[in-house]
């Protein structure tokens, strides 16, 4: 604590003391114990959050990078293992009947080998082994051990052991009750050091990637601009004292608050080519002669998902723009009135320049989030009819084509695009302290 008091001992004389008091507030050099304690407390309070965010954001991101270099499919998520079934064949009915214990084993993977496959089992009481034990098994007392060594992908084997059934077994014995143990290790494709660039080669293969990127940019750019323009228009409508303003404000937020899944399905039904109300309405009004397949036809599908993005996100832009409009000072408008500015001039020369900050921030944020959007398109078109954006492509590659590695590679590409946008965003937002 002493370092906050500049001079502790040797009180100087009158004039000196005055000078010292004026020049006094010298900030302590370095960090004092108080500051250190505060920082410790701060990190302590942040630790749980940091930890959990690292676990669920940073680790998965690293994992995505790792997987994107791995030849891994959906089926590889379960490591290869030996699957076994055990049963007693021969339907013994009386003591002394002959039977066979049968073990059937197979490698669950068609192409990966498993090393050191070993089966150990204890024969149940009441069964006498009645012949030689087949290779590669050995029997010691009632303990059966079979060492298969290394087995290839797609390997199958059957071990049959002839036995004579005793009375003890017929009284309720069960071969499967003896819990056979299987051991064996296999390479897990996720953890070994097998790397490949195939995933990226596949992603960038041909014109597909550029087409996907083009679709993504169209969707993102027009979806963002449209939402902002609609939001600005809606905010202008409500930026005045009108009756029912609160009601309208609540109403305008509906598309944003309702679950995406509910409104997306509603849109699909509304624009259905066979029984959709919009098509019926358009035909009735003579706009189109036959039904338009809005979500299933090439140019329309992309336009429709973009319109959906505008519709569901204009409320957010509206809210932000309205909040900023209502905080604009009145006096410049009064001054403009005195100077005879017309309403449109006031909007163009006064409101718009003052709103430019929030509009740019909104544009950057919405751009990034629309770029990241997955659910909307997935629910509306499933990525068909020319609407496969990058995010939908991640899902498509990983789950529809079952190639997790390729999906991760697309995810990496998305993440890199995002980093680029973020750099732009932070460069701007640090100037525009608005948000």
């Amino acid at each position: 604590m002493t370092d906050t008091i500049p001079d502790g001992d040797a009180p100087p004389s009158g004039a000196d003391r005055y000078a010292a008091a004026v020049a006094a507030p010298v900030p302590p050099a370095g960090t004092g114990p108080l500051a250190r304690r505060e920082a410790r407390l701060a990190w302590g309070m942040l630790f749980p959050t940091l930890f959990i965010v690292a676990m669920v954001v940073v680790l998965p991101l690293l994992a995505v990078f790792w997987i994107s270099f791995k030849p891994v499919g959906l089926a590889d998520l379960r490591p290869p293992e030996v699957v076994m079934r055990e049963d007693l064949r021969g339907r013994p009915e009386a003591p002394g009947d002959a039977a066979e214990i049968r073990y059937r084993l197979r490698n669950s993977s068609q192409d990966a080998e498993i090393r050191g496959v070993m089966l150990t089992d204890t024969l149940p009481p009441g069964l006498e082994v009645a012949g030689p034990v087949p290779e590669p098994c050995t029997l010691e007392g009632v303990r059966l051990t079979c060492d298969f060594g290394t087995v290839e992908g797609g390997w199958r084997a059957t071990v049959e052991i002839p036995v004579t059934v005793g009375a003890a077994y017929l009284d309720g014995g069960d071969v499967a009750a003896s819990a056979p143990r299987l051991t064996g290790t296999a390479d897990n494709v996720l953890t070994n050091l097998d790397f490949t660039l195939d995933n990226f080669a596949r992603v960038f293969d041909g014109g597909e990637f550029w087409r996907t990127l083009g679709i993504t940019l169209f969707y993102t750019f027009f979806g963002t601009i449209g939402a902002i323009v609609l939001g600005l228009f809606a905010a202008l409508l409500l930026d005045r004292d009108v009756r029912g303003q609160g009601l309208l404000r609540g109403l305008f937020l509906f598309p944003y608050v309702a679950p995406i899944i509910a409104v997306a399905f509603t849109w699909v039904i509304l624009f259905d080519p066979f029984s959709g109300s919009v098509n019926a309405l358009l035909i009735q009004m003579g706009v189109t002669a036959e039904a338009i397949n809005f979500f299933g036809q090439r140019p329309f599908a992309l336009i429709m998902v973009t319109v959906f993005a505008m519709w569901s996100y204009f409320p957010l832009c509206f809210l932000f723009i309205l909040a900023r409009m209502q905080s604009l000072p009145d006096d410049i408008y009064e001054a403009a009135d005195m100077d005879g500015a017309s309403p449109f001039q006031k909007f163009w020369y006064l409101s718009l320049p003052q709103l430019m900050g929030i509009l740019t921030v909104l544009f950057l944020l919405r751009f990034i989030w629309t770029f990241n959007k997955f659910d909307d398109i997935f629910l509306l078109t499933g990525g068909n009819a020319g609407t496969r954006t990058l995010t939908v492509n991640v899902y498509e590659q990983a789950f529809a084509v079952s190639n997790i590695g390729a999906g991760a590679a697309v995810a990496v590409v998305i993440f890199l695009c995002l980093l680029l946008f973020s750099v732009l965003f932070f460069r701007y937002i640090s100037r525009e302290e608005g948000l």
Partner: protein
Amino acid sequence: MGLIRRGYVAAPGIGVVWTWVIALTVAVTLAFATGGAFRPSGLWSLAWGAALGAAALHGRGPAAVAAALMAGAGIAGLGPLQTGAAAPWAAFAGHAATAGVALAGTLRMTRGLAPGALTRHEVEAALIRLLTGVGTIFFVAIVLIPFYVMVMTSLKNQAELLANPLDFSIDISRGWALFRAYGELFRDFNFGTYLWTSTYVSLLTVILTLLFSIPGAYAVARLRFRGRAAFSRSILLIYMVPMIVLALPIYIAFSMTGLRNTILGLVMIYPVTTIPVALYMLQGYFRGLPAEVEEAGLMDGLSRLQVIWKITLPLSLPALASVSLYVFMIAWNEFLLAFMLLDDPSIFTLTRGVAALDSSEVPRQNLMAGAVVATVPIMVVFLALERFMTKGLTAGSVKG
């Protein structure tokens, strides 16, 4: 610009646009309400709207006469609203509504306009009134129509829907039978359980999010430590990482650890997606609180944690309310993770349950009833607490 500044050009122009918009609005409204073949006529709107606008320049009397003539012509089939073979009462109501609203709107919008030359102010003011009217109708229509269709579809049956997709009229005499789709959802599709699952998952998410984000936000807002600026910036960065990028490794990790297909897995993931948002909103609010009160508490011998508990939190109840609401909304509406992680129909959340209804075997009124069941609770919460919601959204979160 010169031409439009003549009263005889501006007023009829406004009359035409407004009359056509009203005819379109009435046609769509009546078509959706009765299923009749209503449609607006561009040509007649042009003629009658121009007449109405011109008449409005000469006062209420002439305008009312023009509107009355317009309604009469409409009944004769020569008006802006074409009614086809619709029921007579609906047609009559349609013409009356079109003429009435067109008249009221045109009079209001052309107020202050004179037949001759006009100033720029007068024309622009009239145009703004027109845009306000048209804009309000436009926004109300685009917001309400999907929700109207959602609710009405859930009350009808597949055959009726295919017969006339526009006919959303419902037969009140059927009484409770109208809600058959809802009965089926709760009886055969387990929606009661889904509703409960969604509720407690969302509430747990809110609680966990607050537990983590309150101390974090306080530290970022109030305490001085090295790396504070970088930290508050990286919060925003995290909130920009797309969910689909994270969903893939989460899916893999959960598959391998057996957390997939469990509610526990979902409750572990949801808060993480909301903590950055909550942290960002709360730190903004905490910064705005006067530090003096807290310093007074410190001087009186409270520890930092006591200060947070006894001073900061009670002061920030409104912010906590809006953050909770917002987080609740995110968790309630979350679809992607629930869709990827849950396979077992007995532990579905509502959104996952609705997604499961999207198959050719389930009639669409059930799908729409599911959508209504998912939407209504969040809407009720939202409308009841709208004030907090709007404030909270503008306080810092823009995630969508």
